[in-house]
Amino acid sequence: MMDDILLLQTIERYLSGKMLPDEKSFFEQHRKNVPEIDQMVVEHSMFIHQMEDYAANHNLKHKLHDVHNTLLADHQINEGGEISTKGKVVKIWNKYRKVTAIAAVVGGAIALMISGLVAFFAPVNQQAIKELGQEVEKLKNVQTYQGKQINDVKSKTPVGAEVRGGGSGFLIDAKGYIVTNSHVLRNSKFANVYNNGKEYRTRIILQDNTRDLAILKIEDEDFVAAKSLPYSINNKNNIDLGEVIFTLGYPRNEMVFTQGFLSAKTGYNGDTLSCQIQMTANPGNSGGPVLNNNGEVIGILSTKEAQLEGVTFAITSKYIHRMVDQLKSSDTSYSKIKLPTYSSIKGMDRVSQVKKMEDCIFFIRAYN
């Protein structure tokens, strides 16, 4: 026991550098020869270091505590009172509690009355969600721009037609069938679509206002049908939260790419027709396809929450299938519509995927 203490003492003297040169070299030699002692030196040095850190930490904590109290006493920093004004509020509350209660009752009654009156007289239909169709004013500007692009071709817009709305749409069959939101075509009799500076006439085949979906058919001699579509249209129910998704649309007069995430399996207020996505969408994005990494269309961008930026809703793609099936069974002339089931852009990088898709996304302008 005594030996151990002596050894520890020696090691401590060695570590603190208090040894005389002769003693030091003797000890170092000894340390080299006896591994146990060497180990003890290392261990002790580490322990002392740990103790010192602990002491420093301990002392600093005390100091910080003292500094805090000093600064508080000097009013250099504050606790309670000035920052949150909670103290003041409580005081005022206690003082005027009765008056406040009476005022609240009277105020409540008045508020009820007013809101009753407002509800009675005002036919307002406050929308919590906002459709993403483009507004007419904005579209007029776009019209001039697009007009420039197709200067050399005679415009296919009938003279005197008035723009009623607009948005995006995409091919669901290479033969020229385009799906979009029905609100894009609201109050309209016909619509023209644009892609890559070219304008095509279309016919509105179906408008399903409950699902907010519509189908257009390009009927224009200039339209050259592609062999197949690069993306597929998902008919399954499986939506994976957190999945990266993207869309292409026309919030302005050229195609815009936007990326986001799938954030909920249902839409506004638990609507099972749609799903929620995290993405900043703008008016004009309505009707654009929502695709996942595999190049499968999983939905159609339709609405967004009016109060919150980035909360956007898309109609689930299986309803495109439902609608097309209904159309086919009700009218045999459409029995040849075939939705794409194979995505040829699967596994490609985003830039190439977008390049392949560009020709299939249309800017839609609706007229009365």
Binding site: I5, L8, Q9, L60, L64, H68
Partner: protein, 188 residues
């Protein structure tokens, strides 16, 4: 340029435990952190705890040999506090919508990891000291933490001479080492 120099001087002061420097940093940064914590579901006590923890992290950083602070002190302190507070909120299951100020933040994850490792080491030391029992504990704390000299210690504890106190201190130290390493090596 001058502000930069001041910041360097302040950090140097902090590393050397200079009260004036600590007070200045404290005074300049506390209110910002306090309002952040209060705005995010915290109390005055939370604000104080988190801020002091950040001060310790800054102190550790200022002491390390490879020390470089690539941003202003307030940015660093704010970033540390923000991280610490988010973590605590999560632990308490009180996670709610984050209200952020417009203050810029820097990456502090690595520094915090080091800081946390040190905290666990300190906790082990604390436990070892606590299970040491009296008078060993006070003797060790007196010598190694309060840095009292052996003569004063022997008087406080009533040893007849400094040598006896010294022997006792070594005995205590050996026990403490055993206790510490038993825990420490498990932790490793």
């Amino acid at each position: 340029m001058k502000a930069e120099f001041n910041e360097q001087a302040l950090l140097k002061g902090l590393a050397e435990n200079d009260t004036k420097a600590i007070e200045t940093i404290y005074k300049d940064n506390f209110t910002m952190v306090q309002s952040y914590i209060l705005n995010n579901n915290g109390s005055y006590d939370d604000a104080r705890d988190v801020f002091q923890e950040a001060m310790i992290a800054l102190y550790e950083k200022a002491q390390s040999e490879s020390f470089v602070l690539t941003c202003k002190i307030n940015t660093y302190v704010y970033s540390i506090c923000r991280r610490l507070w988010l973590k605590r909120l999560q632990q308490l299951g009180r996670y709610s919508n984050q209200v952020d100020g417009l203050e810029e933040t820097v990456q502090v994850e690595e520094d915090l990891e080091i800081h946390e490792k040190r905290n666990t080491d300190f906790a082990i030391m604390e436990r070892a000291l606590q299970s040491l029992g009296e008078p060993c504990r006070s003797l060790i704390e007196g010598f190694y933490i309060k840095k009292m000299d052996m003569l004063a210690l022997s008087k406080t504890f009533g040893y007849t001479n400094a040598d006896n106190a010294k022997t006792q201190k070594y005995k205590c130290l050996m026990r403490l080492k055993k206790l510490f390493f038993a825990q420490y090596n498990i932790g490793e």
